[in-house]
């Protein structure tokens, strides 16, 4: 078993508290998202997990074994993708992979095979002879990941792997993570300060700010802690009289009104209201020109808990 259990971890840098009594549990095969603005402590937590720094108190267990007691053995289970691009930039893609592969004690045909599959997963097959310094940012990010998966890690830790990446590479990266999680049952710890990305990818999440846990759970659970309301706006060709009253009757609608010539509904987010609304308008022979559903996002959650936007 390779579940990760982070228990009451505290880490200080001089007088600054980078992590304050943080606990979390990541189940085997799960994609777990660590979210938070810059300086939240995400990287610090990852450095602790990868044994790069020591903690002041608490412990980290992987499959029940303490990181403090057998760090070398546990490190071999982890594939670590650093926040920066950490590669030999005068070397080629293949040379980089070879170096890291050999550090993981791979050699010969096994090393060759692993390099091929890492290239395939990250979509770098056609670039293996290219020098790193001549590659685009997105390509480097992909190689940054490829170097971490050569040894078939049970746990993949990615520290903001999509920062400064073009959309194509970003999709590729997210797809690769899903793929490895699905086919190899790889446990993934993913950090980001892009909420949408984390929402889309992760099974469960934790939001961290200034070293403290704000909330933890599945996306719905987290949003529930703050609100369970969504906003639906409908633009129609005309507004029949009594329309707000009609909507008020629809189950799941908490409040209906007309704003700026649009029908404005506040609804229960767990209730699929759209279909009912369209059917109602159809019955009244009103044509829908535009319809938007504004579900609360993690961004909303963060804003409402901390009073500040994530990307500050």
């Amino acid at each position: 078993m390779y579940e990760i259990s982070i228990q009451n971890v505290t880490k200080r840098y001089d007088d600054q508290l980078a992590l304050d009594n943080v606990s979390l549990r990541i189940e085997e095969g799960e994609i777990f998202g660590l979210l938070g603005p810059n300086g939240a402590g995400k990287t610090t937590l990852i450095h602790l997990l990868c044994g790069l720094i020591g903690m002041d108190s608490g412990d980290i267990l992987i499959g029940g074994r303490s990181m403090k007691k057998s760090p070398e053995k546990l490190k071999a289970l982890i594939g670590y993708v650093p926040q920066e691009i950490v590669l030999f930039d005068t070397l080629t893609v293949k040379d980089n992979l070879e170096y890291f592969g050999r550090l993981y004690h791979l050699s010969g045909t096994r090393l060759k095979e692993k390099i091929q599959s890492a290239l395939a997963i990250t979509g770098l097959k056609d670039h293996h002879k290219q020098k790193v310094k001549k590659m685009s940012g997105g390509m480097k990010r992909r190689l940054n990941i490829a170097c971490a998966i050569l040894h078939d890690p049970k746990i993949l830790v990615l520290d903001e792997p999509t920062v400064g990446v073009d959309p194509q590479s970003r999709n590729h990266i997210l797809e690769a993570i899903r793929e490895m999680n699905r086919t190899q049952k790889m446990t993934v710890l993913y950090t980001s300060h892009y909420m949408e990305e984390a929402e889309a990818l992760c099974d469960r999440l934790m939001i961290l700010d200034l070293g403290k846990e704000l909330v933890q759970g599945t996306k719905t659970e987290i949003i529930r802690t703050v609100t369970n309301e969504s906003v639906v706006e409908i633009l129609t060709d005309y507004l029949p009289t009594g329309i707000t009253e009609a909507f008020q009757e629809v189950p799941g609608v908490k409040k209906a009104s007309v704003r700026d010539g649009k029908i404005h509904l506040i609804v229960d987010s767990s209730d699929p209201i759209v279909e009912k609304a369209v059917r109602l308008l159809d019955g009244l022979e009103v044509k829908v020109r535009n319809l938007s559903v504004d579900n609360p996002t993690l961004e909303t959650v963060f804003l409402s808990i901390t009073g500040k936007a994530l990307r500050d």
Binding site: P71, Y80, P82, L91, E98, F100, R102, K131
Partner: protein, 378 residues
Amino acid sequence: MFDSVWKATGAIFSKDFKVIKSQGFSTLLLFLFLLALGLLYGLMYQNVFDQNIHWTPLPVFIFDETGSSEPGFAEDLLSPDRFPFIELHKAFSSLDFEEGLANQKNAVGLLIKEEEGQTKIYWRSVGEKSIEKNILFQAIEKGVEEALWHTRTYAILGPRAADFMTEWEILAARPLIREVPREDIRVLSSLEYYLISLFTGFCILFTTEFVRDREQRLIARSFTAGIRKSTLYWSNFLSNFVLVFAVALVYFTIVFGIFLRIPVPLGPFFGAVIVQAMVVSAFQSLLGGVCKNRKVELVISLLALFTMLYLGGAFFPVEVMALERIAEFMPNFQLFKLYEGLVLGHPGLDATRLGILFAQSAVMALVGWFVFKKSEVL
């Protein structure tokens, strides 16, 4: 443990080798520069020693008022054997002396007088200052000092003085005498520069990949692969050693075979190059352990280099500076002595020097290992 050091060394070495290869042309240029540097230094040093100064003749007029009949102290001192540029004129009267001087555009007059029971030498210069006058003045000063030393010794010791003086001269002469033919000294002097150039090359031009990797967090990333600190450190040391050995072997083959053209015995030559590679890679490891980035590395290695240059005898012969004791602590001095032995045809390599070099390398490498902290690579 040993197996993993071996594997890690393989990974690190092949990486370092590829990095150097990938820089291909610039690496070649650096190597040529290294050769040029040694050559340049060597030539400079030789020129200082070989320079045939064109002496301007300097008329020197002497008048000894004390009237002692035997050849005086000053004439003894100013014999043409010692100073080829002196044209000595002995005056027999004050008038003679003054006229002689007055007729010259550039000359020196030495007037020896008896005053208040003391013999005094007066220095009179006609014309511009010159290097010849300077040398003469210093020689007279030194001569007076020596004469005083003699007179006092004889006054104090009486009959025992003669024996004492003989023994003293033997003692005093010892550190200044070097029974090496002048030709060899010149060759060796430039050898010192080739050595220093190699150090310079590795410290500044080739730079240690270790510090570069450390700066770019590649060492930190390597640690997440579960590699131990000691494995990583000693693997880097070994990898450096192999690379330095290869470069030093080519370099010194060129130096001895083409530049200096001295035949040396092959076995001890290899031995010396191996020791050389060990010292340089130990020094690199020390830098790797101590320096967090290449700026710090550059500063420290420059400091170390200049210390070695000054105290190890590359700028001045250590015998002259009376710094031989301190020089013993400088690896470049010890290496120089090792190569000197080769050139002078000593059988094998000097065991004491080998011991000192091993100890120095061990200290450097171990200090680097001790200072290098896993927690400081981020």
